[in-house]
Symmetry: C2
Subunit: 319 residues, 2 copies
């Protein structure tokens, strides 16, 4: 059945999840013919956006992200919040399932009235996936979600992308040494506002506490700009240990940083505009078959060492 890009804006604004899902499908569409409708939709909804707490949540597979988000989300819903969970997973196949955002992973949350869960959009580049997710955030806000959580796996550059579209960035860590190294390697400690060692329960309690101290030491080595010193804590998404503390700290962060966060969002939007404009300019080259042929020739000349990169680049634009 071909996708018909008609979105019921009133239903979306009233919180109808099917209307929201259709709207996200529209902005995610890689069919250029759908873009004008997507733009018109976003334009009409802009006045109703910017209203949520945007939280990035990262962690390697196996760290217990789904359980955490389910628990954390249900608690927010109990407090009267509406929670949307989006995923950014650039490794997911272009056509097909994603390792993130699968509704069956978070069964109780996905059945809750105040929740909306959306898998990662298909895409061949992180940039494309990130752009579509940024638009999905706006749509969720227009649909009345107070919390928009963007989930990503702890690999590659996706954390940077997610940190650049959210107000707060949280990293879940495994108790134990292996993942500690992984986390530090990716420079993720510099991005994180909250470093949360999960699975601090049962036999792993002591190990989690040791990991927490380890990360605390690592964070102490960083100098941090701005109003916030990254918080390090250990929790259990199963026993609920530490979740009160985490929620309190998140409140503190949002209250203390309200001014900085507004500036952060404006800066994020302007970067997004420039990035998009650069993408469009680049697309003008990569969608021109003659330019693509010249680019391939230029790459070969550079690989063979017969041309320096700058003249090679000019040869692509000036045939």
């Amino acid at each position: 059945m071909p996708f018909n890009p008609t979105v019921d804006i009133d239903a979306l604004r009233a919180g109808n999840r099917r209307a929201l899902a259709r709207a996200i499908t529209l902005v995610e569409s890689q069919n250029p013919a759908h873009r004008p409708a997507a733009n018109a939709l976003l334009d009409s909804l802009m006045p109703y956006t910017g209203t949520s707490t945007r939280l990035g949540i990262s962690g390697v597979p196996g760290v217990g992200k789904s359980t955490f988000i389910e628990t954390f989300g249900l608690r927010a819903i109990e407090r009267g919040q509406r929670v949307a969970v989006l995923a950014v997973d650039p490794s997911s196949p272009v056509n097909g399932g994603s390792i993130l955002g699968d509704k069956t992973r978070m069964e109780s949350l996905s059945r809750a009235d105040g929740a909306f869960i959306r898998p990662s959009p298909a895409g061949d580049s992180l940039g494309g996936v990130a752009q579509r997710t940024r638009e999905a955030i706006l749509l969720c806000e227009a649909a009345g979600y107070d919390q928009v959580w963007v989930e990503t796996v702890g690999v590659g550059q996706s954390e940077h992308a997610v940190a650049n579209m959210t107000d707060a960035f949280m990293v879940l860590m495994q108790p134990g040494a292996g993942d500690e190294l992984q986390g530090i390697k990716k420079g993720i400690l510099e991005l994180a506002d909250f470093i949360v060692v999960n699975k601090a329960d049962g036999d792993a309690t002591l190990l989690a506490e040791a990991s927490r101290r380890h990360y605390q030491n690592a964070v102490n080595l960083l100098t941090h700009n701005g109003f916030w010193q990254p918080q390090v804590l250990s929790i259990s998404a199963v026993t609920l240990n530490g979740l009160d503390t985490l929620e309190g700290q998140l409140q503190d962060y949002l209250r203390l940083g309200s001014k900085s966060l507004a500036a952060r969002r404006t800066g994020q939007n302007l970067s997004w505009l420039e990035e998009q404009l650069r993408t469009l300019a680049w697309q003008a080259i990569t969608q021109d078959p003659d330019a693509v042929t010249r680019y391939q020739r230029a790459r070969e000349a550079v690989m063979n060492g017969t041309m320096a990169p700058i003249p090679a680049a000019m040869s692509v634009l000036q045939p």
Copy 2:
């Protein structure tokens, strides 16, 4: 006196420093009318490039970089090497002096026959400065320099740029806690192949040793891809303590990594080509006054929250 972009290629190839200096001035020129001559020069010299050891050297002001480079350079010259020192300093004013590369800083080295020292090119963006420095590396190689060292201050993104144009990246560190934090904050430990605590002499010897252990611990936390575990050592550019060790390690690095380094250079060149092509595509927008006006309007709409960034970007390209 207007710059006349004529370069004596034979003199350059024979190692004449004035000819090399003129050639670098030509590729650094921001006058678009000079570009064809610069490209022709680079094209004709390409067969003679790629022959040097490209070493990046970074460190905050005050760490003793000039003294180190002077000492390290004179030792290389004594071994029969020819050494070129280039600087990347994006903070230097567009027209005027640079805090790096000042010949008077390295008086003995600048007077040595086998040395060539060049200050940072003027430029308003790191990208522009980096591109011109990459071309200057090629010119130094064509002029027969065995060693091309690219120096940068330990601030901002310039280390990434320098690491992306060199075979090995060395960071000089101050003994003591303040700079340790600074170094770690900038993620520089992930870039460094060599972490060198300078000033391990006199009263500072013990402090330098403590710093060395500190960095060693930090490096042990990182997982490192490839053939090389970053080396951490303390030296004195004054007493020459540790310089033999450093030179030996650098030799090991180049020998062990010869295959990886060839692939690293090809990858650097292809990235440079794509980056340059993207820059040219972006320039086509920023040099069109009508597009600039539309971009300004789009930025205002995004700041006011009346347009989402993607439609705003399209409004710039499709008036």
